[in-house]
């Protein structure tokens, strides 16, 4: 038979037992239960249970609830006394108070800033209506000698999946866009934030339409949706819908206005076109990477399943296309090391976990999030350690106070509550100061991280609660040890003047000091290594000159490139002009497949187009052969980089080799055979995050010549401003309706490593704060430790010890601790840094950075000496008589 008690709400029963006075439990609990069973008979179980619960809650009244210990005293009076004593104590020890409150406030502020930052990073794409089921299709593309990772995938990849896989509910494609000039009533803007998407864009993604009808926003091919700020830019406060914008793509009809893309989105747009307008995309295509494909899966579908189905999709659709263009069977193609692995990325993971080629924008990095979070924890831990350390160190000093208060009749719990009150007071005040600090720092921090974070959005009731609880907990933790140890002192021993040598206290103190130095050394070493890696990236020989190169973009808008070049070359200070389809680091390369003549197997290479003199302008080195030149007819000439020659299997004797560009997207009309005229030394044409991959280079005289989009000018740095202006004049003369866009190569290359540089700087700032906090902690600690040994120093000096000897003695204690910290910190720093460096294809060797570890150790030792020596020298130099007199 089941126990009849089973149906009583257990939780409430327990609760009642906890709060009810001992002497009443029997009677009341019995009554409650009896009534419960009566009610169960009469009203049914459910009613009975809810009545029981209500009854228990209503038992919460003073006559029933257990008296807590606090209630025994006069709480208000005690609070007042505690507060008064705390103020007096804090005011008396100004240094101590400053170190504690200052350190804690700054570290809490830094910690909150980091949390704000992390919060803004981890909440990307969390506002889409079906975000849990929304995925992007990404691709691992295997080549015979390397693998590339693409965010951009073929046009039909999602569409076909939606047709073939019943698990797919909807698909949407976004074309990453390009820059075009858009004109409205004689006012023209260069629009770089242009994207194109399928009709259901605003249903799949959570971006809100402010004006216009969501259902048929793209009902004509040339419809365009503007972001709110773009609409305002063109039309001010006028109605935007129905207005016509002129562009190279024809007339665009504004069909809607959307809110500005929320900052926490992995893509942004100013103008969104109807994908149908872009004719060049429309044919079914399973090979050429052109759009970002998104799939909305049905409820409960495992994305793994779709990943597997994509294998078949490639076999069914892409294979045929490959066979037609490459003239080999798909099996052979795969056997030679080629392959496609499509997979789904959850949309919310894209910002932090996806670093593929052709992302919409430079994404964040989850590693940095972890690093920052650990720094936040470190910094707060350091301040907490200071707090605890100082409190324990001071316990000797306060022992007498405790002794006297005990003699005068203080109860132990009263003393405990006083110490706890003091430390909680300090931590809560620090919290308030920290919040004030954040208000001050916020604008600068936002400017630095290019985010718009607001403290107001972060300070939700929940977060405020967490912060309060946290600071209460911290205060409690820090106060706990001194509170219990101090209050347990026997008044007689203390007042007799016996030195309190609390062995436990020393042990904890030393442990905490080691901990602080451990963290500081790890941070110092890591900062140094991060700095070296950033230096390495910036100064590494990239294989070309990055300095003094002016890049004129969008050269294809010029009616005649040659005339422009001739005009520009007349400008004084312009040393040479070259042109290329893509500048290093820009990442825009097209793909084409090549086959060594007489071979079956084709290899896909990244391709670029170079004009004459480009190599000379960029100072790139030739390994063999010649570069394109006016003196030759280069229509069918081809250059390769060294990796490209290896990939085609002609590395031994490349010059003069005949290479066939197989029919594909770049040459729809059939195979064209080129002759290799030169081999360029491998240079980093993308970023240093990725390895150098095989590349083929067409001449601007070839059929691909129209791709030359950038002109590179090697200029005299002293005249750069004048040159920029003069080129603008020439541009205006030749292409009056096109915007003149230029940049300096080194700027754009540095942009590639901006994320690292920013993180590096943040890292440096946070590390300095952490080290500073550790130092002030040590400083405070030294004050108290030496203070407690002042008599010993006096005695030693009277007995003949020299000042130097005394200083050495005092320092030695700290030296040991630092040595231990170094031994622990070096392996930890190595481990952390290995993880970080793994993210770079080109990186420094950790063994080359042993100096950093050396410096880390020495710096921390020096810092410790500096902080400690102030006090030890002061103590050692002072007159022993004075020391001995001190009470």
């Amino acid at each position: 038979m089941p126990s009849p008690n089973d149906s009583i709400p257990k939780l409430y029963q327990r609760l009642f037992e906890i709060f009810c006075k001992e002497e009443l439990i029997n009677e009341l609990q019995g009554d409650l239960e009896e009534e419960f069973f009566l009610n169960k008979e009469e009203l049914g179980l459910r009613r009975a249970r809810s009545i029981y619960k209500a009854e228990v809650i209503k038992m919460l009244r003073p006559s029933i609830v257990k008296k807590t210990k606090l209630n025994n005293l006069n709480f208000a009076a005690m609070f007042k006394i505690n507060a008064k004593l705390a103020f007096r104590n804090l005011a008396k020890h100004k240094l101590y108070t400053f170190i504690n409150i200052g350190g804690l406030a700054i570290s809490l502020a830094v910690c909150m800033l980091i949390l704000l930052y992390v919060n803004s990073e981890v909440n990307y794409d969390n506002y889409h209506p079906n975000k849990e089921r929304l995925y992007r299709v990404a691709l691992d593309r295997f080549y015979p000698d390397h693998t590339s990772y693409y965010a951009l995938t073929p046009f039909s990849m999602a569409e076909q999946a939606a047709i073939d896989f019943p698990e797919v509910e909807a698909f949407c494609r976004i074309f990453p866009g390009f820059g075009i000039d858009v004109t409205y009533e004689n006012e023209s803007f260069l629009e770089n934030g242009l994207k194109a998407a399928d009709k259901n864009f605003f249903e799949v993604f959570g971006i809100k339409i402010i004006e216009g009808d969501k259902a048929d926003i793209f009902n004509v091919p040339n419809a365009v949706v503007l972001s709110e700020s773009t609409a305002r830019k063109y039309f001010g406060n006028d109605q935007a819908i129905g207005k016509i914008l002129k562009s190279a793509l024809g007339d665009l009809i504004v069909s809607g206005v959307a809110e500005d893309t929320p900052q926490n989105t992995h893509f942004k747009f100013d103008l969104l076109l109807n994908l149908e307008l872009l004719n060049f995309l429309q044919a079914p295509n399973f090979l050429n990477f052109s759009v970002h494909n998104y799939l909305l899966l049905k409820e409960g579908v495992d994305p793994e399943l779709i990943n597997e189905k994509y294998v078949d999709l490639v076999e069914n659709y892409a294979a045929g296309q490959i066979e037609r263009s490459q003239n080999i069977s798909f099996e052979e193609y795969k056997a030679s090391g080629n392959g496609y692995r499509y997979y789904l990325q959850p949309i919310q993971d894209i910002h932090l976990k996806s670093q593929l080629e052709a992302e919409f924008e430079v994404n964040g990095n989850i590693t940095y999030i972890y690093i920052f979070l650990s720094i936040a924890v470190f910094i707060v831990a350091l301040a907490a350690v200071n707090f605890i350390n100082l409190a324990t160190a001071r316990s000797t000093e306060r022992a007498k106070e405790v002794g006297i208060r005990k003699v005068l009749g203080s109860e132990r719990k009263q003393l405990i509550s006083q110490f706890l009150f003091e430390s909680i007071f300090v931590s809560v005040v620090s919290l308030l100061i920290a919040v004030a600090l954040i208000f001050l720092i916020m604008p600068a921090f936002n400017g630095f991280t290019e985010k718009t974070m607001a403290l107001a959005t972060f300070l939700t009731p929940l977060n405020i609660g967490i912060l309060l609880l946290f600071s209460l907990g911290l205060g409690l933790l820090a106060g706990l040890y001194p509170a219990f140890i101090l209050s347990s002192f026997k008044p007689v021993t203390v007042l007799k003047g016996k030195l309190i040598s609390s062995k436990n206290g020393a042990w904890i103190r030393n442990g905490l000091v080691v901990f602080q130095f451990f963290i500081s050394i790890v941070l110092i070493c890591s900062t140094l290594i991060v700095g070296q890696q950033m230096d390495y990236l910036q100064n590494r020989n990239l294989g070309f000159d990055r300095e003094n190169v002016l890049v004129i973009q969008r050269a294809f808008n010029l009616p005649d490139l040659e005339t422009f070049k001739t005009e520009v070359s007349k400008i004084p200070g312009v040393n040479s002009i070259g042109g290329a389809s893509a500048m290093p680091g820009s990442g825009i390369y097209f793909g084409a497949s090549f086959r060594q003549e007489g071979m079956n197997e084709a290899v896909a290479l990244n391709c670029a187009v170079f004009a004459d003199e480009y190599l000379e302008t960029m100072n790139m080195e030739l390994a063999e052969g010649r570069s394109f030149s006016k003196d030759f007819q280069d229509t069918l000439a081809l250059m390769l980089n060294e990796s490209g020659a290896r990939a085609l299997g002609i590395a031994d004797n490349p010059i003069g080799a005949r290479i066939s560009n197989v029919q594909g997207a770049n040459n729809p009309n059939g195979n064209i055979t080129y002759q290799v005229v030169g081999i360029i030394k491998d240079y980093n044409y993308k970023s240093l995050h990725t390895e150098i991959t095989p590349m083929a280079i067409f001449s601007s005289e070839s059929a691909q010549g129209g791709n030359v989009a950038n002109l590179a000018l090697k200029i005299d740095p002293a005249q750069s401003a004048a040159i920029v202006d003069q080129v603008r004049e020439i541009w205006r003369g030749q292409a009056p309706n096109q915007t003149y866009v230029y940049n300096f190569l080194d700027d754009s290359l540095n942009g590639l490593y901006e994320a690292e540089q920013k993180s590096g700087k943040l890292f440096l700032i946070f590390t300095s704060i952490a080290i500073w906090i550790a130092c002030i902690g040590l400083f405070g600690l030294a004050t108290f430790i030496i203070g407690s040994r002042i008599k010993e120093i006096g005695v030693r000096k009277v007995l003949g010890a020299s000042s130097a000897r005394v200083v050495f003695l005092l320092m030695n204690d700290f030296n040991k601790l630092i040595l231990i910290s170094v031994l622990l910190a070096v392996p930890a720093a190595i481990w952390v840094m290995q993880k970080w460096l793994a993210g770079f294809a080109y990186r420094i060797d950790l063994t080359d950075t042993w100096v950093s570890f050396f410096i880390g150790g020495i710096v921390s030792l020096l810092v410790a000496w500096l902080t400690v020596s102030y006090h030890s020298i002061k103590a050692a130099m002072s007159n022993p008589v004075k020391n001995l007199r001190t009470e």
């Binding site: 009677e27 019995g30 009554d31 239960e33 009566l38 209503k58 009244r61 006559s63």
Partner: protein, 114 residues
């Protein structure tokens, strides 16, 4: 003497205990009151009233025998002391006096109006 007068709820509780006689303990008192005044009172509120009455000396209580029902928890039986009874009488007298003083016409009229 402070607290010598009875609150309405306290008076109700005392009377109920008298009604119940030997069977007056938490559950029965509560149920009886609920039945008579059509008002849900909680056990907690009842406890407050009972303990206050006991403090004043109007009630005394004794623990009953432990029994197997109620999970072996003994009941606490309440009994009205002589002091409690006289307090009840006193309260009733005050009220009766007042009732008697009301001119009957006024009372009737009020009824008619309401």
């Amino acid at each position: 003497m402070k607290g010598s007068n009875l609150g309405e709820f306290q008076e109700l509780a005392l009377l109920t205990i008298l009604v119940l006689g030997d069977e007056a303990y938490g559950v029965t008192i509560k149920r009886e009151i609920n039945k008579n005044v059509k008002r849900a009172i909680s056990r907690g509120a009842l406890h407050t009233a009972l303990s206050r009455l006991e403090e004043k000396g109007y009630l005394k209580s004794k623990q009953g025998e432990a029994s197997t029902e109620r999970g072996g928890r003994p009941k606490r039986y309440y009994e009205v002391t002589n002091k409690g009874k006289s307090a009840l009488h006193e309260a009733r007298e005050v009220r009766d006096n007042l009732w008697n003083k009301i001119p009957s016409v006024r009372l009737e009229l009020q009824y008619a109006l309401s």
